[in-house]
């Protein structure tokens, strides 16, 4: 009987020890070293090159830059849009004194985009900023 009781206690103790060990392993973070690194793969795919981007300008100084504002018919941002471009123009003039600016021109978001693009290219700008909204 005593032997049986001892075995039972031993068994319980072993189980408890086993559980404690297991619990300890489970509770510990996988990496408790000073630094853990996680290296992951990039999910993006390869994409064929179809068109080349326009070469970027070495500087905006001496260049003609068009600022274009798209205005959807229900556009709440209109006053802010013009204020935005006034501020951009002031900053640009300060940094690039010889820049020529085509000041905010509007195009409607309802106009065909190819038409708007043609209108912009006809101004023969060296670079263009287009926004906002729409």
């Amino acid at each position: 009987m005593q032997r049986k009781t001892f075995m039972l206690v031993l068994l319980i103790a072993l189980c408890a020890l086993g559980f404690a060990s297991f619990a300890t392993v489970q509770a510990a973070p996988p990496d408790q070293a000073a630094s853990v690194s996680l290296t992951v793969l990039n999910p993006q795919g390869n994409i064929p090159v179809v068109n080349k981007f326009a070469p970027r300008l070495s500087t905006l100084d001496g260049k003609k830059v068009g600022l274009w504002l798209m205005l959807p018919s229900t556009f709440e941002f209109q006053p802010a849009g013009f204020a935005f471009y006034d501020e951009i123009a002031a900053m640009m003039k300060k940094q690039f004194p010889n820049v020529t600016l085509v000041m905010p021109k509007e195009f409607s978001s309802n106009a065909p985009e190819v038409t708007s693009a043609k209108v912009i290219t006809e101004t023969k700008v060296d670079a263009a900023v287009i926004g906002i909204g729409g």
Binding site: P29, P30, D31, Q32, A34, S35, V36, S37, L38, T39, V40, L41, N42, P43, Q44, G45, N46, I47, P48, V49, V50, N51, F53, A54, P55, R56, L57, T59, L60, V65, M70, E76, F77, P79, A80, F82, A83, F84, Y85, E87, I88, M91, M92, Q95, E113, V114, S116, A117, K118, I120, T121, V125, A127, A128, V129, I130, G131, I132, G133, G134
Partner: protein, 439 residues
């Protein structure tokens, strides 16, 4: 805006775009359709005040980016390698004092910086996990299932595996994910437009693999059921692959104004093939209907434009729930002939996918056409648009005058009398009957 930007770049004019961030997918669709993977831009915070003061505040944020955009910009997450744009880095490393800290940094970067996700925490796609996924297919990692998306991105087995790991998919799901992606990439992405809405891919799994990986065909078949993780994680893997592989490092969504119908980009179901045993001949599973051997595993993908669940209809009125789709009348006769109406029979509930409603197959025993083919024929005959409604929708100018039918529509109308209602699909075989759901 995207087409304007791309046209200017093509003309040799460097461009910088400033736009409200909610228009990003729409703008990028225009950019990518015109052969560019990305564009120099700043996506403005929608919450900036719509005042002159707000405009000035925005200018101070945007100005340095604008100057860089016109003078030294290049895509942030892609670099040119010969005739291909490739990711700037094949791996990223995130470090922390603990694993949890590194994991949090990974999730913050992938979800918040690159938008490579769906907003929920991702499983880190480590080399080991991706290799385990790749081991579930005999295909080589570089094998391409197809080119798809606005930028015509290469959907290789390895890239799909990376996204599948991120989605939390188990390797045993990978064959189904690959089959679904092969099907999806075989359809031109323009048919899954990014602008207004996109069809939700319904991925239907038939054959032994459905049971092997436990794809749900019963209760909650269209929803998330924790007893069946395969459905949710396959759907999530497909979604992530669609937005990440061709997303130019932006996680572009394949839909914009409304988005897909599900929270995820796809729905995954298995057909309840045991219905054949219950109902007998005429209730063969979908893949057998499509001519495949019964013992073969098969994945079908159907793009869903509309979804009309109902619990109180009957077989006669069901067909009339199929909505006329004025925005998507097929532009060619061939497209009309290929158009499919999928009818999902739900045990104990009635529901349908892509327009129709049909009752529990057991209640069909009460009618005289209890086979899939008979139901398809019945739906074809009943699911028609009354001519007066058709004319009002399709053949009336805004000023109320009549206009002539053209293209596929004219060809279809030629086959009908002037007062006949117009079928929503070309023939009985265009009504695809599936069985799933219930208890």
């Amino acid at each position: 805006m995207g087409t304007i930007a791309a046209t200017l770049e093509k003309a040799g004019v460097p461009v910088f775009v400033i736009q409200n961030d909610r228009y990003e997918d729409r703008m990028m669709a225009g950019v990518q359709q015109n052969g560019y993977p990305d564009i120099a831009r700043y996506m403005a915070n929608e919450n900036l005040e719509y005042t002159a003061e707000g405009g000035k505040k925005l200018a101070s944020i945007v100005y340095p980016l604008l100057v860089d955009g016109l003078t030294k910009w290049q895509p942030q997450y892609l670099k040119q390698d010969g005739n291909t744009w490739v990711p700037t880095s094949s791996t990223f490393t995130y470090s922390g004092a603990t694993y949890d800290e590194a994991l949090a940094k990974f999730n913050a970067a992938y979800l918040n910086d690159m938008f490579w996700g769906d907003g929920l925490p991702l499983t880190p796609p480590t080399r080991e996990k991706v290799d385990a996924m790749l081991a579930a297919t005999p295909l080589t990692p570089t094998f391409s299932l197809g080119k798809w998306g606005g930028p015509n991105a290469d959907f290789t087995v390895e890239k799909i595996a990376v996204n599948a790991v991120m989605a939390g998919a188990k390797p045993q799901y990978f064959p189904v994910i690959l089959a679904a992606m092969q099907s999806l990439t075989s359809v031109s992405w323009q048919n899954q437009t990014w602008v207004v809405r996109s069809p939700t891919p319904l991925i239907i799994v038939n054959g032994p693999i459905a049971q092997q990986i436990k794809v749900n065909s019963g209760a909650d078949v269209l929803g998330a059921n924790p007893k069946y993780p395969a459905n949710s994680s396959i759907a999530r893997a497909v979604h992530l692959a669609m937005v990440n592989i061709g997303g130019s490092g932006r996680g572009l969504q394949p839909s914009h104004l409304a988005g897909p119908m599900g929270g995820l980009e796809a729905l995954v179901i298995a057909e309840a093939e045991d219905v054949e045993a219950l109902m007998g001949k005429g209730w063969e599973p979908l893949h057998v209907q499509l001519g495949k051997p019964a013992g073969e595993s098969f994945v079908s993908v159907m793009g869903i434009n509309s979804f009309a669940p109902d619990v109180s209809s009957n077989i006669t009125t069901t067909a009339h729930y199929i909505a006329p789709d004025s925005a998507h009348w097929p532009s060619t006769v061939e497209a009309f002939q290929k158009r499919t109406v999928g009818v999902l029979l739900i045990n104990e509930l009635w529901a349908s996918i892509s327009s129709g409603l049909i009752p529990d197959p057991r209640s069909l025993a009460k009618i005289h056409t209890p086979t899939k083919a008979a139901m398809s024929k019945f739906m074809y005959e009943q699911a028609r648009i009354p001519r007066s409604e058709f004319n009002a929708l399709f053949l009336t100018n805004p000023d109320g005058t009549a206009k002539a039918a053209t293209g596929a529509m004219a060809e279809v109308l030629k086959t009908l009398k002037d007062t006949d209602p117009v079928p929503v699909a070309a023939g009985p075989n265009n009504f695809l009957v599936l069985v799933a759901g219930g208890h």
